[in-house]
Amino acid sequence: MSLSVNTLFFAAYRDLLGTASLEVEVADGATVADLVEALRSRGAPFDALPAEPAVAVNRVYAFSDEPLGAGDEVAFIPPVAGG
């Protein structure tokens, strides 16, 4: 069994990957850490993402052990620089 999540990339991460979003399949019960590992294992340029990036799941900051659900919006958040 697998589920699909919608990943979003901003700022430096979007520049790195050349895309702002990506539909990704992960195994049932996968966590944020599993999603990151799945992406990084695709090789360049994905392997340039940090091993433990800041992420937000459904627009709320989440730790890497957060479990994912079908249709979750998972945003990869480079260090923020507002103001």
Partner: protein
């Protein structure tokens, strides 16, 4: 009333200032973040602000609500701009009023410090020679690696 917004519209400081203040308030503080022409010794010609708007809106509301609760005033307006900004343009405006001055100063300072820690916004500086670079930021708390001391 607490008002927050994140978007591409130009910020009018006078309008932001007019949105706060009641007859009980003896102090008001307006903070403006402005695009300046230098950073780390380099000459900057402009700034692009990127935001995760769908999340930045709620996070800014949360920051403003925390400031209001801590400092005991709900006369607070916070506006953050996105998109292409020129030198001198206002990127963020924070207006707050309260019966006494300490609360306005502290609320204003709290909001700008928290914006820098956790608002999902990024900025790319443009330099004289045509180069551009994302400004180094801060890792927002409550995300990424599982913290040792997490509850």
């Amino acid at each position: 009333m607490i008002r927050t917004s994140v978007g591409p519209e130009a910020i009018d400081p006078a309008e932001v200032l007019d949105s706060i203040g009641t007859d009980e308030d003896g102090a008001a503080v307006l903070f403006l973040g402005i695009v300046r022409n230098h950073a780390d010794g380099r000459h900057v010609t402009g700034m692009h602000y990127d935001a995760y708007v769908e999340m930045a809106g709620p996070v800014l509301e949360e920051i403003a609500s925390e400031a209001a609760e801590r400092l005991g005033t709900d006369r607070l307006t916070v506006v953050h701009r996105t998109g292409e900004l020129a030198i001198g343009d206002v990127s963020v405006a924070i207006a707050v009023s309260s019966p006494h001055r300490a609360e306005s100063f502290e609320a204003s300072r709290f909001v700008i410090e928290e914006i820098k820690k956790r608002l999902p916004v990024w900025k790319k500086e443009r330099y004289v020679n045509g180069d551009a670079a994302w400004v180094e930021g801060e890792i927002p708390p409550g995300s990424g690696a599982v913290a040792e001391g997490r509850p």
